[in-house]
């Protein structure tokens, strides 16, 4: 077993490294303003840079062991940044949840590496992938198992079902962290992993089918939850899960170019949305609930414009970046037919939902009546509340000065605007890298990585006509979703409340995120806590101390008591004993003699 510190540079890793370093540069710029008054300023940047290092290690690793190291470092950086404001118990709880789920993913990766090593004798990508064709037949049991274990790693890192519950809680971290780690880069690592291991998945299409289904189910699930969540950051977090579902579907359908294209455009517009949300939250003085927002259009014009651009790209409004990338995935998926056609159709329907919740945010935050904070911001102030934990309303412990006492929003911070403007531009024009029938720059660039794939031949691609038809359908979906949101939130305010009351059970189900947290609590957390109590009280005290120690020592003690009782010190007792003894002996010899 030999593991080198191997680095692999190929178009895929260069592409990932560009996305990671580009977006993280802008987010560093944003953070210089956003975190300015936080007393953990230096620590924040130390963690952030540790993250960038880890992420680059992950995408540049040339073998599975180094990949696992990067994979776990990224998880650790994510943990540190989620619990960055560690005086909040909600933040530390979210951190431990994210860490443990990520460790489960790491474990999947390690086990997968073992299975591959066992069969191919290699741990580096070149060795494993080179031997795949000769070692495994199609859908070989071991290979499918290895791919499913890789999928466990991917699912944990990319917050796909069923290991998704940590991502919404990860919003406890500072907003730039949500933008960088929990939207643009780390959570897309699962997509990268599947794309990187495409020779394995193509040889194990059964595992790829599972991945595609997982992606689609997550896409629908997260979009449905995003409809009802009221915490602004959490809406975007669920949207992230949903969009990663599209990417997972893409790369599992072997539409690598499309999946990675969406990864890139998503990194632009989702980072932008989080930055805009951070700006709004800054203007709100730290409040994150959309229930308390409204009418920021006039007070935050820059944020309004950029956020809306991000929302349009997310909704895949025609000609915005997300429009081309999302539709490329779905067109490719439908073109493959069978299962994938069904998944593709579901994807189009989810796109309408996406457009709806994207504009639900826009309309609820920037339209409607101006809240006091919006009026204050319009006159250049920030409404300061007594610091409180946005998720529980608990009074904040301000002794150490973080979260910082000041709040910042884009209209008053050059750094924040400087980061948001380029992203807004990219969210508008990012699609030009791959317009059907016009450009295929990105696919061409990535081609060397995927040239061994059977799915980059021209015949595997959807025809130009099909792609254009797909674009038309996607555009219609975007219009439908945005139009519905306009109808419900702007032209008939209050309509959503009626809907909520009429379908109270559905709302409750969605609002509680399909009860996944409660389910996991029942299934894993509560039983292990109960087992811990059982171990402490019953096993330790009764079995270990009682039986294993108490038993033998009790036996010795009982024997000692008996012996001590005999040694009474009375002569008559000894004489009696002597008599009994002699009698017994005589009896024995009499019986023995007869």
């Amino acid at each position: 077993m030999n593991v080198d510190l191997g680095i692999l540079i190929d178009p895929l890793s260069v592409f990932m490294a560009l996305v990671v370093s580009g977006v993280s540069f802008l987010i560093h710029v944003y953070s210089t303003s956003y975190m300015a008054s936080d007393r953990g300023y230096a620590r924040f940047f130390a963690y952030l840079n540790f993250f960038v290092f880890s992420m680059l290690l992950l995408v540049l690793a040339g073998n599975f062991v180094l990949l696992t190291v990067g994979w776990a470092f990224v998880g650790a950086a994510s943990y540190l940044l989620i619990s960055f404001w560690y005086r909040r118990e909600t933040a530390t709880q979210a951190g431990i949840k994210a860490f443990v789920m990520n460790v489960i993913g790491d474990l999947g990766l390690v086990l997968a590496a073992f299975l591959l090593f066992n069969e191919t004798g290699a741990l580096d990508y070149a060795g494993v992938f080179g031997a795949t064709q000769d070692t495994f037949t199609e859908n070989d049991g071991t290979l499918v198992a290895a791919c499913l274990l890789l999928l466990v790693g991917a699912v944990a890192k990319s917050a796909q079902l069923p290991l998704h519950t940590w991502l919404a809680d990860a919003m406890e971290g500072p907003t730039p962290v949500s933008a960088l780690i929990h939207a643009a880069t780390m959570v897309t690592a699962g997509v990268y992993l599947i794309a990187r291991c495409h020779p394995l998945f193509e040889q194990a299409p059964a595992a790829a089918d599972v991945a595609a289904i997982v992606g689609t189910v997550t896409m629908v699930y997260a979009a449905s939850v995003a409809l009802v969540v009221t915490d602004l950051k959490r809406v975007i977090a669920y949207s992230t899960m949903s969009q990663i579902g599209y990417m997972v579907l893409g790369v599992s359908a072997f539409a690598y170019g499309a999946g990675l294209f969406h990864l890139m455009t998503h990194a632009f517009f989702k980072a932008l949305l989080f930055m805009g949300a951070g700006s709004v939250i800054g203007a709100m003085g730290g409040v994150q609930s959309m229930d308390r927002m409204g009418g920021f259009r006039r007070a935050l014009p820059f944020t309004f414009v950029t956020f809306t651009i991000g929302a349009l790209a997310l909704a895949s409004f025609p000609l915005f970046a997300g429009f081309f990338s999302k539709d490329e995935i779905l067109a490719f998926s439908i073109n493959r037919g069978g299962l994938y056609a069904v998944l593709g159709v579901i994807g189009y329907l989810a796109a309408a939902v996406t457009a709806f919740y994207a504009f639900r945010m826009v309309f609820r935050v920037f339209f409607g009546d101006e809240v006091p904070e919006a009026r204050a911001a319009a006159s250049g102030h920030v409404e300061h509340h007594a610091p409180e934990n946005p998720s529980t309303g608990e009074a904040e412990d301000t002794e150490v000065g973080f979260p910082g006492p000041e709040h910042h929003y884009a209209e008053r911070s050059l750094g924040m605007r400087a980061a948001m403007a380029p992203l807004a531009l990219l969210a508008v024009v990012g699609g030009v890298l791959s317009i059907p029938g016009v450009t295929d720059t990105l696919e061409h660039f990535l081609e060397p990585t995927f040239e061994d794939s059977a799915f980059i031949e021209a015949e595997a691609m959807p025809s130009e006509g099909a792609e254009l038809a797909g674009l038309a359908v996607g555009g219609l979906m975007a219009f439908a979703g945005i139009g519905l949101a306009y109808l419900l939130y702007l032209s008939r305010p209050g309509a959503t409340l009626e809907l909520r009351d009429r379908f109270a059970a559905v709302h409750r189900f969605l609002f509680n995120k399909w009860y996944f947290d409660e389910l996991y609590d029942r299934l894993f957390v509560a039983p292990s806590a109960a087992f811990g109590r059982f171990g402490r009280t019953v096993v330790e005290s009764a079995l270990i101390q009682g039986v294993l120690i108490g038993g033998p020592s009790g036996l010795v003690r009982a024997g000692a008591t008996l012996a001590r009782g005999v040694q009474s010190g009375y002569l008559r007792a000894y004489a009696l004993l002597l008599l009994f003894g002699l009698g017994g002996l005589a009896l024995y010899f009499l019986i023995a003699a007869s």
């Binding site: 560690y86 474990l107 811990g532």
Partner: protein, 570 residues
């Protein structure tokens, strides 16, 4: 190659302890500290000087001690004990340093006991004669009995009694096993010998190996401890003074695991194979049970105590995978675990000093902001403990899991759950101590002085090994693989008794473990891979099949197929 007399290394601490016992009170601690530092110097010199390509023992000593009983005074270093000796030297130096800055009653006696304990542990690690190993193994108990009973905290008398009785019973069982081994291994009409190499060369019948195996296993599992033989641990850990506990948990627990590799696997391969499942079950249960209890404790010491049960479960798992990778992982994990527990116990001392002397997690919290150095050091130790990829612990667990998964998939997957649980208990411990709001009565200030030196030096070694685990893996590979090989071969043959293999093929005296020329002055030919080459009566090498069985050779030098014998696995 340097000339190092192991006897000096082993008895240097005792000598310094004796001098300290008669020196002025104020000097005692510094004399013993100087002794431990000298041993540390020797250990570093040995690591630098060690030639990982060299078969057999380095710096070996072999004198007759009690010729009537065939007992030798034999010491030696190979890849198996090199780093354990180094770990002992390092932790003793650090612990003695920390203890030197505290005030203990009767300091001369305290430091003498500390020094005696180091000699006993070093002796147990270096011994190459079973009787000598047993003697040092039991000698360890004496100083720790006095250290815990005399300078302990809380319910120290009850705790000491429990600990002593537990380990003593184990020791007695092992003594019986050792005597049986020596007597039964003696060639018919010949004299008994307790030299490990001689015992390895003699192959006992399978049934005999089995009951002797159980005797040894009991002693070693108690020492570790493993579930369900850990009854002494909670009370014992709570009562032991912290610098002593660092040694007890960090080093002494490893003697048990080391005993499996040094004594049990090479001498009792059939026994080990026979009880492999049992030991794997004990290992997995220890991992899961220890982990779950670790995250339901409020007492920080017991968090580490139960986590040790889990970590030693991993080590047992690696050893009884009966696979070279697993054993190498186990050895590396012994070093790692020694380092991280030492770090954690020193950190607990610092935390308790800030929480008004309490070691309960519920009384701690919130000091990370004013103690950033401590928070950083603690974070490194915590992440290493939960086997973060990038740490040597990860490499070790990876090797262990790879070793186990190969043949025993289920155990490997169950143990994998332990990896996730480790994340739960370590992060929980870290958060409760460092994060959240400042606990009432908690005085947050950073770590400094001798405690900083202690924790930082452990952390430096942890990071160093994380960057370059190859240091250990490379030097230990040859010896570790040789120790596992006999049991592995038995296991590969599906547990078929090595009833009567050709003496040359099974009388392995594995090249890497034998004192050259120890029996009959015959050098053992060694192949390029460090494995002994079986030699026929004519001195010609016998071709060996992949299963370790000699391949019959026809007159033309070509292998001749043999008809399978009844009762023998194909």
């Amino acid at each position: 190659m340097l000339t190092i007399h192991l006897s000096i290394v082993v008895f240097l601490p005792l000598a310094s302890g004796l001098i300290a016992a008669f020196a002025p009170r104020a000097w005692a601690r510094w004399i013993v500290l100087a002794g431990t530092l000298a041993v540390l110097g020797y250990a570093v010199a040995m690591i630098v000087d060690f030639d990982s390509g060299r078969p057999g023992l380095s710096y070996a000593t072999d004198d007759e001690w009690i010729p009537e009983l065939g007992i030798h005074y034999a010491l030696g270093i190979d890849g198996l004990n090199l780093f354990l000796v180094a770990l002992t030297a390092l932790l003793w130096a650090i612990s003695t340093l920390v203890a030197a800055f505290k005030d203990y009653e009767r300091p001369r006696l305290f430091f003498f006991q500390l020094a005696l304990a180091e000699t006993a542990v070093l002796g147990a690690f270096c011994a190459q004669d079973l009787a000598l190993f047993v003697a040092f193994f039991d000698l360890m108990l004496v100083p720790f009995y006095f250290l815990i009973g005399g300078w302990g905290e809380g319910q120290r008398v009850a705790a000491t009694t429990k600990l002593v009785i537990y380990t003593l019973v184990g020791s007695l069982l092992m003594l019986a096993g050792a005597v049986a081994l020596g007597v039964l291994s003696a060639p018919a009409g010949g004299e008994a010998s307790f030299l490990l190499t001689d015992l390895e060369a003699a192959s006992l019948p399978e049934g005999t190996q089995q009951w002797i195996f159980l005797l040894f296993a009991a002693a070693f599992l108690v020492k570790m401890p493993a579930f369900p033989l850990h009854g002494w641990m909670p009370d014992g850990y709570r009562a032991t003074p912290l610098p002593v506990l660092v040694l007890f948990s960090g080093v002494v627990s490893k003697v048990g695991a080391y005993g499996f590799l040094r004594v049990v696997l090479p001498i009792l391969p059939d026994g080990a194979q026979h009880f492999q499942e049992l030991l794997l079950i004990i290992a997995v249960v220890s991992i899961l049970y220890g982990s779950v209890l670790a995250f339901s404790q409020d007492d920080a010491r017991l968090v580490v105590g139960y986590s040790s049960i889990a970590q030693l479960g991993f080590i047992t798992l690696g050893i009884f995978a009966l696979d070279p990778k697993g054993a190498q992982g186990a050895l590396l994990q012994m070093i790692n675990h020694g380092l991280v527990t030492a770090g954690l116990f020193f950190i607990i001392a610092v935390l308790a000093a800030r929480a008004g002397g309490s070691e309960l997690l519920s009384r701690m919290g919130g000091i990370a902001y004013r103690a950033p150095v401590l928070a950083g050091l603690f974070l490194v130790v915590a992440l290493a403990t939960l086997a973060m990829p990038g740490s040597a612990n990860f490499v070790a667990e990876l090797l262990i899991l790879f070793g186990v998964l190969e043949d025993k998939l289920v155990y490997g997957i169950l143990a994998g759950a332990g990896v996730a649980l480790a994340a739960v208990y370590m992060i929980r411990f870290y958060q409760r101590a460092m994060h959240h709001r400042v606990g009432t009565g908690v005085d947050s200030r950073d770590v400094r002085g001798v405690e900083l030196v202690a924790i930082a030096s452990v952390v430096v070694v942890i990071i160093g090994l994380g960057v370059y685990p190859q240091l250990v893996v490379e030097r230990s590979e040859r010896a570790t693989v040789a120790k596992v090989r006999p049991a592995e071969q038995v296991a590969d043959r599906g547990g078929e008794a090595v009833a009567a293999p050709a003496p040359a093929a099974s009388g392995p005296a594995p090249g890497a473990g034998g004192v050259p020329g120890s029996r009959g002055g015959q050098p053992v030919p060694v192949g390029p891979d460090g494995q002994p080459i079986p030699v026929g009566p004519d001195g010609q090498p016998i071709p060996v099949g992949p299963d370790g069985q000699p391949v019959p050779v026809g007159p033309d030098g070509q292998p001749v197929p043999v008809p399978p014998q009844p009762g023998q696995a194909p």
